[in-house]
């Protein structure tokens, strides 16, 4: 099982701060496809994915127990 986190506008658009999904063995790109399928109205164009609190690459593969966060464009400062 993977824990997914949504922040800022994505949290508001999905109505979800976190959820569990059976995405172990899938890549980061496939995770984004899963999210797109579940929330077709979401815009994920500029969204990056962090796995276990580090920015991940599209081909990185998820393992059971991972946390994956969808990171919309940041605006700190």
């Amino acid at each position: 099982m993977i824990t997914l986190y949504y922040f800022a506008g994505l949290r508001e658009a999905t109505g979800t701060a976190q959820e569990q999904a059976e995405l172990e063995g899938r890549t980061v790109d496939e995770l984004l496809d899963w999210v797109r399928h579940k929330y077709p109205h979401l815009s994920l164009d500029a969204v990056r994915v962090a796995v276990n609190e580090e920015y991940a690459l599209p081909d990185d593969r998820l393992r059971s127990g991972d946390t994956a966060a969808l990171i919309p464009p940041v605006s700190g400062g």
């Binding site: 609190e53 919309p72 940041v74 700190g76 400062g77």
Partner: protein, 162 residues
């Protein structure tokens, strides 16, 4: 305090300046970023910041490590506040000390640029008639407070309050 932290209470910048000060340091630069009332002619009532806290603190520490590598002999502390912030309040503080002033100035500016690229923190502007999560601010013109101006908001992305 931690040298790289996300906080929910008002920031006292002096604590971060004190942390980086040491006998070898001849210079300390202290940057504070504040909540600005007017952006693109729209009046902000207050800001709400949100962060992915454990990752944000890791990324702040990573920026500190990059600074240590590029400007050896510096010491850095960075804090960003989250939650609801009023006009004029401090959102971010960056303190850098170095033997001579040039390194402290350069490293301090590098830190704020990297924060805007890397650190999972999001700002929501709350106006009288609506709200908006602000996106990518890199490469935008600087304004008086030192915070970059976000791009104009396409009308379709605005969410009006009921």
């Amino acid at each position: 305090m931690k040298p790289y932290e996300i906080v929910t209470e008002p920031i006292d910048p002096q604590r971060y300046a004190d942390y980086v000060l040491r006998p070898e340091a001849g210079a300390v630069t202290l940057f504070t970023g504040h909540v600005r009332e007017w952006t693109r002619g729209i009046r902000t009532l207050y800001l709400a910041y949100e962060a992915y806290v454990p990752m944000a603190e890791k990324m702040l520490a990573k920026i500190g490590a990059e600074i240590e590598q590029q400007w050896p002999g510096t010491r850095t502390a960075i804090a960003h506040r989250i939650g609801e912030l009023k006009i004029g309040e401090i959102a971010v503080v960056i303190a850098v000390s170095s033997a001579h002033r040039k390194d402290a100035y350069e490293a301090n500016e590098y830190a704020i640029e990297r924060i805007k690229e890397l650190v999972p923190i999001w700002k929501k502007e709350i106006w009288e008639n609506g709200t908006e999560w602000i996106g990518d601010q890199r490469g935008k013109p600087e304004t008086d407070s030192g915070q970059a101006d976000p791009a104009p908001i396409p009308p379709k992305t605005r969410r009006e309050l009921p």
